[in-house]
């Protein structure tokens, strides 16, 4: 077999393997977005409805430095709406919802950790939860990019 043909065959196999590996995304992404949308809505409602003392602590100081708890509440509610819209509406919204989710989760994960490291704030359980969520979202984003950034939409 010629080098070109061997190369073509190897590439074809790699593409097939990648597509097979990410074939379950059609089910995973909406389920994940639905769950995250639910969490974001609950978080947004809590931030908006609970008294300020209940949603404030030294751990959250880095996050509340420029954005108030109420503003975060609105952001979380918007995130929840976008995630749920992405589940209901066509697949094109997935990317926007995943991007929004990744951005908010990264901000919270880094913000909660930065306060602990630089401000000697007590470690908050939410930090662990946010990092776990961020890892999950990053994994989904990578799978999504693997499948759809190669032309299969």
């Amino acid at each position: 077999m010629s080098t070109d043909a061997t190369h073509a065959l190897t590439e074809q196999k790699s593409v097939s393997r990648r597509l097979r590996w990410t074939a379950g995304l059609g089910l995973i992404v909406p389920m994940y977005l639905a769950w995250e949308g639910f969490l974001a809505t609950v978080a947004g409602a809590s931030l908006l409805l609970l008294p300020r003392e209940r949603v404030s602590s030294a751990t959250l100081s880095a996050l509340y430095h420029w954005v108030t708890p109420h503003a975060w509440g609105v952001i979380f509610l918007l995130l929840g709406i976008v995630c749920i819209a992405a589940v209901i509406k066509p697949k094109i919204l997935w990317r926007h919802a995943l991007f929004f989710l990744l951005e908010v989760q990264a901000t919270w994960a880094i913000g909660l950790t930065a306060a602990v490291i630089f401000h000697d704030a007590p470690v908050n359980a939410i930090a662990g939860l946010t990092w776990t969520n961020l890892v999950g979202t990053t994994f989904i984003v990578i799978l999504h990019a693997q499948r759809f950034n190669n032309g299969r939409q």
Partner: protein, 104 residues
Amino acid sequence: MPDPATAGGTLPALITAVGAAIAGVLGAVALFGRRKPSDEAVAPTPVVDAIERDREIERRLSKLEQRADEHKDHHEDLDMKTNLTYSRLLVEESKEAPRARKRS
């Protein structure tokens, strides 16, 4: 007592903002990066090239066959005309031959 919500220094907030910006850029590249045409994803370039070459060869071959058919028809026409002319000449010659013999 300072409000715990805003008591933190600027540094953690700044680090948070920078981290969020980096995450945003990476996420945007991963999610909104350039998309290749779908054909390339299904079949790698060498395979696509080979298919294209095959199609081109088939197209040229069919054109050549068509031209060969046209030439063949043309030659058959010419042959038929030549045969007809030759037959007429033979007929005329056969008519002329007895007269020439008489004259001689």
